[in-house]
Amino acid sequence: MPSLNRRSFLDQVCSQIKWKAAHREICAELDAHIEDRMERLERLGRDKEEAEFEAVAAMGDPIQIGKELNRYHKPYLSWLFHCSWVLIIFLIVFFIATVLWPWGSRLYAQNQPVRTNEKVIWTLDAEEQTQQIDNRIVYLTGADFTESGILYVYWKSELLAPYQSGWSFALNFDVYDQNGNNLLESIGYQTQMAAVGGIEHYVMVFRDFDAESIEKLTFIYDQYHRHMEFTLDLMQKEAAE
């Protein structure tokens, strides 16, 4: 067999390997072997050229090596391997975008308070009065009274099975003051809803609210044989900072 230099040896090995994408990796590995052997030979006193030819010759028949490596580097196996990485990257991105991100943002948003931006005169913490109705938990969280005479009452609601969608809970409450007057029949209220990270926050807005004479509010929900009741003691109010 004629003497081969390093480059020709590697070319001949690779000429037998059908999977071209593997050529670089194989060449690097074989080249490293040749390099090691050359260094040893040079330490024994060979010059660089002699060491290269001897090191290459010691590697064996490049055609035989190439055939062996070709058996190992099956094209379909390598394709599958490469495709599997592409798929893994795609699935990781998809998992983050569709599962981790919504889940994380919900956890983050769970305790973010929803409050009015208006100037608040007094505020009230309802100490999270909680009631459960079917698979939904309803929280009365507090209230703010603003200088424009509006009372905001804050609610929160979430499903027991977390992360499950469902129909929105509606604030279909009758609201009574301490004298039994139904505020729905007098000033009425509007509702606003904001879904923060999957938790539903509701705000009841009472305009022209008579904060001087109303001391207590009772909220009664009674539909389809479901009943829940919350009270808000306005005497517990605290001046806003």
């Binding site: 190992y72 196996l77 599997s84 569709t98 599962v99 499950q164 539909q223």
Partner: protein
């Protein structure tokens, strides 16, 4: 450390892909409210409305353009309701609910109707036990069509019609077992 062969690495990657796929599927189901069967989705749907569980009078399966919607006709105490659940690759999810209506026992028929996309549904309950069949008249532009349900689902009836013009329910009639009309309600349209 032993170097892995390409085949071993491929097996490792396949395991990673399987785990990710299971994670995505489970995450999607948990996050988007999917249920393994239609009945569970229907029960959850009613529960989120704080209604029911209703007594199911009929399950009308796989209607609509994509044949993926299931209708549940039910009565709960003094109310009636039509609820839908929808199937896709992840399982069953809560669909449309056409509202909950009080049964008017003073009238022989209580009914409601809705149009969603190109589908019109008319449904209701017969309070009069002599009513065996129900017929409705729909006005579609200049045209009037009549639909008839010969056999009630116990006491409930349901019509679903693909429509392209603006349809209006004009009349609803109840018939006894002999086919004699025993009530007729004009809807006022």
């Amino acid at each position: 450390m032993k170097k892995w062969s390409k085949k071993q690495k491929l097996i490792r990657n396949i395991i990673i892909i399987s785990l990710l796929a299971i994670g995505i599927y489970a995450g999607q189901i948990a996050l988007s409210g999917f249920y393994r069967d239609a009945d569970t989705a229907h029960a959850a749907s009613e529960m989120t409305l704080h209604y029911g569980p209703s007594e199911t009078r009929a399950v009308i399966a796989e209607v609509g353009d994509e044949k993926n919607t299931r209708y549940y006709l039910g009565v709960y105490d003094e109310w009636f309701c039509v609820d839908t659940v929808i199937k896709d690759w992840k399982g069953w999810r809560i669909g449309r609910n056409f509202g909950i209506h009080k049964i008017d026992y003073q009238k022989p028929l209580s009914y409601s109707w809705h149009i969603y996309d190109n589908e019109m549904v008319v449904y209701g309950v017969a309070s009069d036990s002599n009513i065996a069949a129900v017929e409705i008249s729909l006005r579609l532009g200049d045209q009037t069509i009549e639909l008839r349900q010969e056999e009630l689902f116990e006491d409930m009836f349901f019509f679903s019609q693909q429509v392209h013009a603006d349809p209006i329910l004009t009349e609803i009639r109840g018939y006894d077992r002999e086919g004699i009309m025993i009530c007729s309600l004009e809807t006022g349209y």
